[in-house]
C-alpha cells in the first residue's frame, strides 16, 4: 500500500512539474496570464570597476544569489542585465538610459552611490521605470519621484540611533568629527552627525576632513588625540575608515568610534584587525542574527565568495526579493503595475528584517546597533 502511494506521489510530482514547465514555455511572451509565471528583465546599474568596485562586487553577488533562488522557485523568472557605472554620474546615466530604452527593462536596481541616484532617479521617474536603490542612503532619494524606491536604511535614521546608544553608555560630553568631504555619502553622514551632536548638546572639539584614497591620516589624528575627545564620529567608507582606526589605535587613541553606513562592513575587521575594536554602527544587516533565512544566505554567499556578505550584498539580495514579490503580485511585467505593487510592499520578511515602504518609497524598519568587540560584530547594549 505504502509502495503504491509513494509511486503515485512520484508520478503526480513529475506530471505537475511537466505541467509547470509547459506553462512556463507558453507564458514567456504573454506574461501575466493566470497561473503562468511572470518573466521580467531587470536592469542593474552598479559600481563594478574603480575605487568602489568592492561595493559592486558585493551587490552583484547578492543579486545573483537571489536571482538563482527566485528562478528556482518558479513563480517569477528574472533576467538580470548588469551595467557598470564606474561610480560616475554620467556613466550611470548612460547605462540607465540604455537599460530603459534599448533593453526595455521592467525595473532597475541601483545605482550604487547616492550621487549617481541623483541623476539616474529623475530619468527613471520620467520614463516611468521603477527603480530601487539598494545602497543609496543620502537624504531625499525616494522623494525624487513616485517610481523611486530604496531599501537601504537612510543615514538620518541609522546614525542617531547608534550615537544615542554610545553617548548613553560612555557618558560622552566631547566629540571629534572626521569625515570624507569629497563624497555625497560621507558628507551627508557628517551633516547628520553634526545635527545630532547639536541636538544632544555635545561639544564638538574639532571637525577634520579627508579625501578618498588618502592613506595617511596621522596629521588629523594627532590633532584629535591632543584634544582628548570622549568619542570620535567618523563618517567614512570602510576602506578609509578601517585605516583611520588602525592609525588611531597605533597612535594611542582608544576612545570608541561611531561610524555611518559605509563604515559598516566585516572588511573593517579584516583590514584593521584588533584596531577595529570599539567601532559602533547601526545596521539593517547583522550576519550573526539567529534567523534561518539569514544563516542560509550567509552560508551560500560564503561558499561562493569566500567571505561573509556585507550589507551591500544583503540589501541587494532583499531588493530583488522585494521586486520579485511585487512582480508576482502585479501578475505582469508592466512597469506601472510593478510600481503600484512595489509601493504596497508591507511587512515583507527579508533577511534584513521586517520591511515596509512608507508613502514616499522610503524605508520603514528598525536598525540594530552593533559594536566590534574582540574582532567581532556583536549587538551593542
Amino acid at each position: 500500500m505504502r509502495q503504491v502511494l509513494k509511486k503515485f506521489v512520484g508520478v503526480a510530482a513529475v506530471s505537475s512539474m511537466l505541467l509547470l514547465s509547459a506553462c512556463g514555455n507558453s507564458g514567456d511572451q504573454t506574461s501575466g496570464s493566470e497561473g503562468g509565471k511572470v518573466e521580467a528583465d531587470i536592469g542593474v546599474v552598479s559600481f563594478l570597476t574603480g575605487s568602489g568596485a568592492a561595493y559592486g562586487e558585493a551587490i552583484q553577488g547578492g543579486l545573483k544569489l537571489a536571482q538563482e533562488e527566485i528562478n528556482a522557485k518558479g513563480d517569477v523568472k528574472i533576467n538580470l542585465i548588469f551595467e557598470d557605472s564606474a561610480g560616475k554620474q554620467d556613466q550611470a546615466l548612460t547605462a540607465a538610459q540604455k537599460l530603459i530604452n534599448s533593453d526595455n527593462v521592467t525595473a532597475i536596481i541601483g545605482p550604487t552611490l547616492s550621487t549617481e541616484m541623483n541623476v539616474v532617479g529623475p530619468e527613471a521617474d520620467l520614463s516611468g521605470v521603477p527603480i530601487i536603490g539598494t545602497s543609496t542612503t543620502a537624504e531625499g532619494i525616494p522623494q525624487i519621484g513616485d517610481y523611486v524606491f530604496r531599501n537601504s536604511i537612510p543615514e538620518a535614521l541609522a546614525i542617531p540611533a547608534s550615537m544615542q546608544k554610545a553617548v548613553d553608555k560612555y557618558d560622552v560630553k566631547k566629540v571629534a568629527i572626521l569625515y570624507g568631504n569629497d563624497d555625497v555619502f560621507t558628507k551627508s553622514g557628517y551633516d547628520t552627525m553634526k545635527k545630532t551632536a547639536e541636538e544632544m548638546g555635545l561639544e564638538v572639539l574639532t571637525t577634520e576632513t579627508f579625501q578618498k584614497g588618502q592613506s595617511d591620516y596621522n596629521a588629523q589624528l594627532t590633532k584629535i588625540k591632543n584634544l582628548n575627545p570622549d568619542l570620535i564620529l567618523a563618517s567614512a567608507l570602510y576602506n578609509e575608515g578601517a585605516v583611520i582606526m588602525d592609525q588611531a589605535r597605533k597612535m594611542g587613541i582608544d576612545v570608541p568610534f561611531v561610524g555611518g553606513n559605509g563604515f559598516n562592513s566585516p572588511e573593517v575587521i579584516n583590514i584593521a584587525g584588533k584596531s577595529s575594536n570599539g567601532l559602533i554602527v547601526a545596521t539593517p544587516w547583522y550576519s550573526e542574527k539567529e534567523d534561518e533565512k539569514v544563516q542560509e544566505f550567509v552560508t551560500k554567499f560564503e561558499e561562493e565568495h569566500g567571505h561573509v556578505p556585507d550589507q551591500f550584498a544583503a540589501q541587494a539580495y532583499d531588493a530583488l526579493y522585494i521586486l520579485a514579490d511585487a512582480l508576482k503580485n502585479a501578475g505582469s511585467s508592466d512597469r506601472d503595475a510593478v510600481k503600484d505593487a512595489l509601493a504596497k510592499t508591507k511587512d515583507f520578511e527579508g533577511i534584513l528584517g521586517n520591511f515596509s515602504f512608507d508613502e514616499e518609497g522610503d524605508v520603514l524598519m528598525d536598525p540594530t546597533v552593533l559594536v566590534i568587540e574582540e574582532e567581532k560584530f556583536v549587538e551593542f547594549k
Binding site: E57, K212, N218, D246, K250
Partner: protein, 291 residues
C-alpha cells in the same frame, strides 16, 4: 603635539621623496615623465602585502621580491612602451608620455583583477615596533623610512657624480647621439635607469604599506601626481630637489592640518608649488642635468 606632527610630516615627506627620486631619475635621462611610476610603486606595495601576509615570509624577502618584480616591470616598460617610440620618424615627443599613461591604466586595472578592489592591510611585526618618549609614540618604521630616503639620495648622488655608469648616464642625458658616438652604450644606460627607478618605486611601495597599513589599487594615482608635483617643485631631474621637494610637500600637508583646515590639505600644498614656481621657474634646484 608639534614634535608628533613634525614626525608625521617627515615620514610623509620621506615617502614622497623616494617616489619623486624615481620620477626625477627617468626625467633626467630620458626627458619624459613616467606616468606609470605611481602604479609600479603600487605594485611594489602589493607584492609586499602578498609576500608578508599570504606567504608569511620575513620582511627582507618582501623587500627583495618587490625590488625584483618592480625591476622586471621597469624592464618591460622600457622595452615595450618606451624603446619602440624612440628615434622613430613622425612620433610626437608626447608619445612616450601617453604610452606611460596607457601603462599606468593597464596596471591599475590589472591590480584590480589580481588583488581585488579593497584595502589590504600590511601585517608585519616590524611595523608594530615603537618607542614611547613622553606622550609621543615613534614607530621604528618612521625612522627607517627617513633613513632609507636619505641613504637613497646619497647613493644616487654618489652614483651619478662619481662612478663610470653615472657619468655614462649623465652623458646620455646631455646628448643621446653624442654619448653613443663616444662609446656609451645608451640603450643599456637608459634601460638601467628605468629599472633602477622602478625598483625604487617598489621600495617606496613597501614603506608606505608598512607606515600607513593601507594598500589599494588606487594609491598609485595620487602618489604619482604628488611625485610629479615634487619634481616640478624641486627642479626637473635634480636628485637633491626631489628629496627637498618631497620633505617640503610632506611637512606642508601636515602643518596645514595642524594650523588650518584639513580640507585644504592638497590645495595649499599645490598652491605653495605655484608660488615657488613663480619665483623660481626652474624649481628649487633646477638645472639642465642631474647631479
Amino acid at each position: 603635539m608639534l614634535i608628533e606632527q613634525l614626525i608625521n610630516g617627515l615620514t610623509l615627506g620621506s615617502i614622497y621623496a623616494i617616489v619623486a627620486l624615481g620620477f626625477t631619475l627617468v626625467f633626467g635621462v630620458l626627458g619624459i615623465i613616467n606616468m606609470a611610476h605611481g602604479e609600479i610603486f603600487m605594485f611594489g606595495a602589493f607584492i609586499g602585502v602578498m609576500i608578508t601576509s599570504t606567504l608569511n615570509a620575513p620582511l627582507w624577502v618582501a623587500f627583495l621580491g618587490a625590488i625584483i618584480i618592480t625591476a622586471i616591470m621597469g624592464y618591460l616598460l622600457e622595452r615595450f612602451a618606451l624603446r619602440p617610440l624612440r628615434h622613430k620618424q613622425g612620433v610626437s615627443h608626447l608619445a612616450p608620455l601617453i604610452s606611460t599613461i596607457g601603462v599606468s591604466i593597464l596596471l591599475e586595472n590589472l591590480s584590480h583583477h589580481l588583488f581585488g578592489a579593497g584595502n589590504h592591510p600590511f601585517r608585519t611585526s616590524f611595523a608594530e615596533i615603537s618607542f614611547q618618549i613622553g606622550s609621543i609614540t615613534i614607530y621604528l618604521v618612521q625612522i627607517v623610512i627617513f633613513v632609507i630616503s636619505i641613504v637613497l639620495m646619497l647613493v644616487l648622488t654618489f652614483w651619478l657624480g662619481k662612478t663610470r655608469a653615472g657619468k655614462a648616464l649623465r652623458a646620455t642625458a646631455e646628448n643621446l647621439e653624442t654619448a653613443s658616438l663616444l662609446g656609451v652604450d645608451t640603450k643599456k644606460t637608459i634601460l638601467m635607469t628605468v629599472i633602477i627607478a622602478s625598483a625604487m618605486g617598489g621600495i617606496a611601495g613597501i614603506l608606505v604599506g608598512m607606515a600607513f597599513n593601507s594598500v589599494t589599487p588606487q594609491m598609485g594615482l595620487s602618489m604619482g601626481l604628488k611625485g610629479l608635483a615634487i619634481i616640478i617643485l624641486g627642479g626637473m631631474g635634480s636628485v637633491r630637489g626631489a628629496m627637498l621637494g618631497g620633505l617640503i610637500l610632506g611637512l606642508a600637508e601636515t602643518f596645514i592640518v595642524v594650523y588650518g583646515d584639513s580640507g585644504y590639505r592638497d590645495a595649499i600644498a599645490f598652491l605653495a608649488i605655484i608660488i615657488i614656481l613663480l619665483i623660481r621657474p626652474q624649481g628649487l634646484f633646477g638645472q639642465k642635468i642631474s647631479t
